[in-house]
Structures are given as structure tokens and as C-alpha cells.
Amino acid sequence: MTRDGQGRADQIRAELARQGIAADEDDLAVIVKIVAANRAGLERARAAVRGDPEVPHGFVPPAPPGDAAPHAGR
């Protein structure tokens, strides 16, 4: 594992411990892989988004206004 990879694993181990989630080394290896892949994908997605889309308060997809029952947070 690279130093960066080890750093990420340590960070994730610490976060899981803080949240009270038991994880052994095998669990950790898989979780680190999942999280790293999604973070990399998110970074690519953000780079592909033009501008800075505004997130409406209480965003709930999609329920067009007028057709929707009150939503949580709206």
C-alpha cells in the first residue's frame, strides 16, 4: 500500500471507529477501495459539471411543484 493509500486507510479506520463500526483489516481494504473509487468518480463528475448548480432548499427529486404533497424538509 502506498503512503497515500495507507493514510486513507488510517483515516477511514479512525472514522469507522469513531462511529462505533467494527471493521477488520479485510473489511477495511474493501471499504477503502469503495470509498476511493466513489471519491474519484465524484471528482470527475464535479469537473464535468458546468457552473455551480444551486441546490434548492429541501431538494427532493423530483415531484414538480403543485403536483407534490409536502415533502420532508420543504
Partner: protein
């Protein structure tokens, strides 16, 4: 005759019930016989309601005979619910050790609505654990077209039961493709409705903003009938919409002449298995020959949706499971535990970033659907893969489906061909909010012009 009943469409079986040519008991018996014969190999059902289903069927038979008519088009017909649906008095396990003895005292809203419409609960179908992970208690749902292959997840029990004639109607849930993926792999029809169209009250949740419940069947018309029974506002679900519910079976035969279908320029037609590509190209030609006009549409973010969607799903799943994961983590299957635990590791900033991508993507889909009646894509880039692949490191099957969980638009898969190895290929149609009717219309027109939905797997030989 029994096999004929087990493979009957809801519409045809309903007609036979109306004409008193068969009774609900005949239909349930035919299905139970096949379940008894094939469930061991297919792992379609976690719980089979044998005696209870027969009792319900007898009651329906009496009611129909006594009243002289059926309550509606679903009365007296059996349904299988995915085992993440609360069913009063019938255990609901979500394929998890944590819920092995869990017997709910109430029905999910959609279960109750279908029950009120007169449907008979046949059983609870197999799913990956909590619709996202392991399958180590009740077996891996296998593909009836090749028992060495995976049926797709997570509503794989519903899909393979339909394809194998072990159910005539089913429900599924779909957080990233879990209705459409197994429906495509197994060669049946599955709809993820618009977010808010079907109440999720009583669905064991995975992700509050991505979960959907929808119908699965062997034909589009049957899916439309089922959605009639499931849809509508429910005060018990705060995300349930009050949009009017049309009769989705109306207008199915209107044809598609003059409709405009969007073909994405990005992502969806890239890197396809050659046989999937050929099936889709053939389907597009067929849609054109039926009078639809194809128009390219731009969806530049399409290649970037799976990861942000994964963050949203797992962060929300962790929120829902955190307490149980702390207390009973070792009772979860390994894959489920790891996936859900991964959701603990994202920051609120990352969650918010994923929501921003979601908003931008939703705008892109909305803009495209402003110009076309529906978007047409492959449901998956490849046909069903071997069970061993699923048990090892499976490919991400939400490649083309999670997109519409992110945006909330309705999306349906319909069979559009077979590979040379005899594996089904699915075509996905995505439409405007609350316009499931157009998707049904397109899929039905396509279905009427093609033979795919009439094929049956050679199960007896394969299971021997």
C-alpha cells in the same frame, strides 16, 4: 393447461376468470406446482404462502362466484412481493439474519392496495440482503435462461420467478436499477415509476432519496395494470406525490406514430457488448418502422452519475442502518456490511457535492425530455454474467439505470432481443415526470411488433 396458466398474462387470466373458465384456485395451484418443482434451483422465493394463498384463492373464487363479478381487473390474481415489502402476518426477511424472524403486523401501502384490489399473496421473493449485498441464506437467484448465470439484483427473485412461470405478477424495489437490471437479465418487463408515484411506506428502506417501488410482469400491459393498483398519494409517505393517477392501461394501443425518441450521444451506446449493441440497433429500427422519429440528445454528465449516486445511496443507507450495524454488525453478510459501512466515510461536503451533480444531471435529463417524448437506451451494456462473477467481483450493473434514480424520472425496461447464447437483452425507456403512460405506450407498441416477450426458457431441460 397448468403451464399455460402459470405463463398466462394478467389480462388473459383475468378474462378466463371473468368467463369462469378457470378459478383463482386453479391459477394458484398451477403456480405452486411450478414453485415446488423449480424454486430449489432458481431460489426465486424466500417464503411461499402455499396454504394461505390457496385459502385466499378460495375466498376470491367464492366472492367472484357469489357477487357474479370481479372487484376489478386484479381480483383473483396472485402476486409475489419482493421480500423487502412489509406483509402482515408473513415474515419479511430482506434476506438478512437480522430479520429472520420478523413478522410485520401491517402491510406496506402498495401491498395493502393490491390486496384491496383482490390480489392473492403468493409469496415473498428473493433479494440481495437489504437490497444491496449478500445472498448467503436463501441462495443466489439464478437466471432461468442459463442456470449458471445470475438473475440480476436486487429484485432477482421477482424477475426470475416471472421468467420461469413461478409468478404472474410481482413487485420490486429500485434504488439504482434493482427492478430494471434483473428484469433485463431475465427477459421481463419492469418499471421504476416517477419518484413519488408509488408510496414507499412499508418498504424496508435503503436510501430515502433514491428508493422506488414498482411493478414487474411479463408484458407491458400487465405492468400497467399493476401500477394502477399501486400508485397514488399516501399520507403515510411524506415523499408521495399527489399527482393524478390515470388508468395506465388506457391508450396502450394508440401506437407511437409521430412520437420523438431521444438517443443519447454520450455514454449509453458506448462500450456495449456487440450482441447488446446489435439488439438495440434492431430495436431502434423497429421503433422507427412503427412511426417514431429518433433524435440525438445530449446528456454530457451521463458517464459521471454512478459514483455520486453511490455516495448518496451508501451515505443514506448508513444513516438508516447505523444503529443496527453497531449492535449486530456481524449478523450482516460480509458484502452488505462493508458496502453500508462505506457510507460512514463520506463527509457532508461530499454528500452535498453529489447532490449538486444530481441537480445538474436532473436539469440535463429535463432539458432532453423537453424535446423528446422519451429517451431510449440499453438497460445494461452486457447480458447476464455467471453466478461466480456475482459472488466474486461483479461489474457495476447500475451503469445505465442509476441515472433515473438520481433524476427521479420514470424508466422501464422491455425485452428487445436475445444473444446467440439465448440470453435476454433489455431496452430502457425513460420519460417525463409522471408520464409512465407514454413509456407503456411505446413499450407496448414495440412488444406487439416483436416476439421477444413470447419466448420461454427451456427450464425443464436446464433444471434436470
Amino acid at each position: 393447461m397448468d403451464c399455460d396458466l402459470a405463463y398466462g398474462s394478467l389480462i388473459r387470466l383475468g378474462r378466463l376468470l371473468d368467463q369462469r373458465q378457470v378459478s383463482p384456485v386453479d391459477i394458484v395451484r398451477a403456480l405452486l406446482e411450478r414453485i415446488n418443482q423449480y424454486n430449489g434451483r432458481l431460489a426465486s422465493y424466500i417464503t411461499v404462502c402455499g396454504d394461505a394463498a390457496l385459502e385466499e384463492a378460495r375466498a376470491a373464487e367464492q366472492e367472484i362466484t357469489r357477487a357474479g363479478h370481479r372487484r376489478g381487473r386484479l381480483h383473483g390474481l396472485p402476486i409475489a412481493h419482493k421480500d423487502v415489502s412489509l406483509t402482515r402476518g408473513v415474515r419479511t426477511t430482506a434476506h438478512s439474519r437480522c430479520l429472520l424472524d420478523s413478522v410485520p403486523d401491517r402491510d406496506a401501502t402498495y401491498v395493502r392496495r393490491l390486496r384491496d384490489a383482490g390480489m392473492i399473496l403468493l409469496g415473498k421473493t428473493n433479494t440481495t440482503e437489504f437490497a444491496c449485498g449478500t445472498m448467503d441464506l436463501f441462495g443466489v437467484h439464478r437466471n432461468p435462461w442459463d442456470l449458471g448465470r445470475y438473475a440480476g439484483g436486487s429484485s432477482g427473485g421477482s424477475a426470475n420467478a416471472l421468467a420461469a412461470g413461478l409468478a404472474v405478477a410481482a413487485t420490486g424495489s429500485d434504488t439504482g436499477g434493482s427492478i430494471r437490471v434483473p428484469a433485463s437479465f431475465c427477459g421481463v418487463v419492469g418499471l421504476k415509476p416517477t419518484y413519488g408515484r408509488v408510496s414507499r411506506n412499508g418498504l424496508l428502506p435503503l436510501s430515502w432519496s433514491m428508493d422506488h417501488v414498482g411493478p414487474m410482469a411479463r408484458t407491458t400491459a400487465d405492468c400497467a395494470l399493476l401500477l394502477n393498483g399501486m400508485a397514488g398519494h399516501d399520507p403515510a409517505d411524506p415523499t408521495s406525490a399527489s399527482a393524478p393517477v390515470p388508468d395506465f392501461a388506457d391508450g396502450l394501443d394508440a401506437g407511437i406514430r409521430g412520437m420523438v425518441l431521444g438517443i443519447p450521444r454520450q455514454h449509453f451506446y458506448e462500450g456495449l457488448d456487440p450482441e447488446v449493441d446489435a439488439a438495440l440497433r434492431g430495436a431502434l429500427r423497429e421503433l422507427e418502422s412503427l412511426g417514431a422519429r429518433l433524435e440525438p440528445v445530449d446528456l454530457p454528465l451521463a458517464a459521471h452519475i454512478v459514483a455520486p449516486g453511490g455516495i448518496l445511496i451508501m451515505a443514506e443507507a448508513f444513516g438508516l442502518h447505523a444503529a443496527r450495524l453497531r449492535e449486530r454488525g456481524r449478523e450482516y453478510g460480509t458484502r452488505t456490511r462493508r458496502r453500508i459501512a462505506s457510507g460512514a466515510c463520506y463527509t457532508s461536503g461530499e454528500y452535498e457535492e453529489a447532490v449538486r451533480v444530481r441537480v445538474a444531471w436532473t436539469h440535463q435529463v429535463g432539458a432532453a425530455l423537453g424535446r423528446v417524448d422519451a429517451i431510449v437506451t440499453p438497460t445494461l451494456p452486457q447480458p447476464a454474467f455467471p453466478v461466480e462473477t456475482q459472488l466474486g467481483e461483479p461489474p457495476d450493473t447500475s451503469w445505465g439505470t442509476r441515472h433515473f434514480n438520481m433524476s427521479g424520472h420514470p424508466a422501464l425496461t422491455v425485452p428487445c432481443g436475445f444473444t446467440s447464447a439465448g440470453l435476454p437483452v433489455g431496452m430502457q425507456l425513460a420519460g417525463r415526470y409522471f408520464d409512465e403512460a407514454s413509456l407503456f405506450r411505446i413499450a407496448h407498441a414495440y412488444e406487439q411488433a416483436t416476439p421477444w416477450h413470447t419466448r420461454r426458457p427451456a427450464l425443464a431441460a436446464a433444471a434436470a
